[in-house]
Structures are given as structure tokens and as C-alpha cells.
Amino acid sequence: MNLDANVSHPDDESLMREIREGSHDAFAVLVNRHSKRFYRIAHRLVFNKDDAEDIAQEAFLRLWHRRELWDPARGAKFTTWFYRVVINLCFDHKRKKRPSDRTENLEPVDVNPGQDAQLDARRKLALLDGFIRELPPRQQLALNLCFYEGLSHHEAAEIVGVKVKALHSLLMRAKTTLRDKANRYLPGGSV
């Protein structure tokens, strides 16, 4: 791998070019740089550590074994392209897996003082995860990419495959739904 003083921190696209030529060292650099980031988005979508680790691994192995599919001429940003790879694997995984614990059976909580304390932090987090899990896939994606991952709206829109305006609409609907559910199921009004 070409690692002289000027390119000691090659960008992702340069690494991809080297990977395409078969450099396993470049692959290792890329994995060390990004495995946690892509694990994180997988975990936010599949809600399970082991599954998220498997998905991150599978995505990187596909990248390595099908490295010739990366086309530098397209000028795509590596992370944008790879987010799509990981997200597709997450949705494949969700399709294959039986839907589990949902929040449909939850009773709305009466809003009265003191009840807030009864719902411990863990339960609140589980509820929040449940609400996010029930969002339509593209709304979930928009929320995770923009709010939790802090991507620019332009990049997030490219990953989701919509225009920026449509992404805003997805974000707005996601947050409105979450706010409504939080108001309904969690004590304390507007949370």
C-alpha cells in the first residue's frame, strides 16, 4: 500500500482504489476506520448487538470479495455507498426475522404527578426503541441518519434515495409520530 509521508492518512476513496487492486492492507485500514460507524447504524436499525455485528462483518466481507464492483469513475463517496450496502443488509435481515416485541399492547399511561417516577429509565428507553421500530422504514432511516448519525441532509437524502425536500418530509413525519406516541404512552405531556 502506498503509505508515504504525504498520504499517511489516505481518504476512503483512495483506499477503495487500492482495495480494488487487491490490497488487503488498505482493506484493514478501512475496516479499522469505519467498522464502528457502520455497526452503529446497523444496531440502530436491527436493535440487536450480535445481529448488528454480523451485518457489519457481512458488509465488509462483501466489499472485500466483490471489490471489483466499486467503480471509482462514478465519483461516489465511499461512506454514502457503503451506508446503502449496510442498510440493505439490515432490511434483508429484518425481512427474514420474525417481528418481535411491539408496543401495540401497551396501555396509555394516565398523566398524573408522581407516575413519571414509576417508569424507570430503562423502560422509557425500551418504549422509545419500540416507537422508533414501528416507524415506516424510510422514516426510521431518515431519523437515524440525520438525527442520530448527524449526516448532512444532502448525504442522507442520497442514501435514502430521495430528494432533500422528501427527506425533510420523512423527518417531520417521523418526529411528529414519535412525539404523539410519547405524549400518549409516556407521562409528562410533551416529553
Binding site: F27, S35, Y39, Q57, H65, R98, L125, D129, Y148, M172
Partner: protein, 148 residues
């Protein structure tokens, strides 16, 4: 340019409660609208609380050796020759169906089998009784004897 409540609310949902993160072209208008309306300030405070709740969401950290595992798996997988089992499991994966569809296929096959058996038993044209079988044998013997 002004920003009414509805537009302000939309922008808060899309860009967040921190006006510093809003796109430059709407930030100033948003700030002016905010300065002049208590209603918008209340809306913003509410959005901040809501975002605070969203931010409490946690995720489990991956194993420390995640990157290492991926790198070594990439080497192993390349070295491993493809086995017959691997081939069949890949083939099965290609034709994998969701559980309800798989159940539907099995139920259809089962009913097709039952219908097949029923039709087979009801259709007596190919059925030969023991008595008939004996007569046929006698005819054959008689016939062959004549030839001989």
C-alpha cells in the same frame, strides 16, 4: 422575509431546535421570527425537550475486537475452498421464502397429495380383483398350451 408559526414548526422538525444548525438562508429569518413571538419560543423549548428525550436512546457498543474479526474473516473466507454444503446452503438461501409463504407452499403440496391419493383410489378402472386375476391367468395358460 418573514416566517409564520407553521413554517417555523416545519423547520424545527426538519432541522432541529438549534437554529445554528439551520441552513444559512433561513437561519436569520427564523431568528427574527423567534425574537418577536413568545409562541415560537415556547414551541422551540418544547422541541428541545423532545429532542432531549430522543437523545436518551442508547446503543450497545460493539465487541472490542470487531474490526479484527472482520479482517481475519476476510482472509479465512478467501482461503476456504467452497464445499458442497456451502453450495447447497447458498442455493437454499437464494430460494429462501418468508415463513408464511413457505407454509402456504407446504399446505398446497399436502392437499395436492391428498387429492392425488383420493382420485387414485376412486378410479377403479385399473383395479383387478383376485377372481379376475385367476381367470386371466387361466386364459393365459390355456392359450399358451394351445400354441405349444
Amino acid at each position: 422575509m418573514t416566517m409564520d408559526l407553521k413554517e417555523f414548526k416545519k423547520n424545527v422538525l426538519a432541522h432541529g431546535s438549534d437554529l445554528g444548525n439551520w441552513p444559512e438562508q433561513i437561519r436569520e429569518t427564523g431568528q427574527k421570527a423567534l425574537d418577536g413571538a413568545a409562541e415560537l419560543r415556547a414551541l422551540l423549548a418544547d422541541a428541545e425537550r423532545f429532542e432531549g428525550v430522543l437523545k436518551t436512546r442508547r446503543y450497545e457498543e460493539p465487541g472490542e475486537d470487531l474490526a479484527e474479526r472482520i479482517i481475519s474473516a476476510s482472509v479465512k473466507k478467501e482461503k476456504a475452498p467452497s464445499t458442497r454444503n456451502g453450495f447447497f446452503s447458498e442455493l437454499l438461501q437464494e430460494f429462501w421464502l418468508p415463513k408464511p409463504a413457505l407454509t402456504a407452499v407446504f399446505v398446497s403440496l399436502f392437499f395436492a397429495l391428498i387429492i392425488g391419493f383420493t382420485v387414485g383410489f376412486l378410479n377403479s378402472s385399473g383395479y383387478v380383483s383376485a377372481e379376475q386375476d385367476e381367470t386371466n391367468l387361466q386364459n393365459l395358460l390355456y392359450y399358451e398350451g394351445e400354441v405349444l
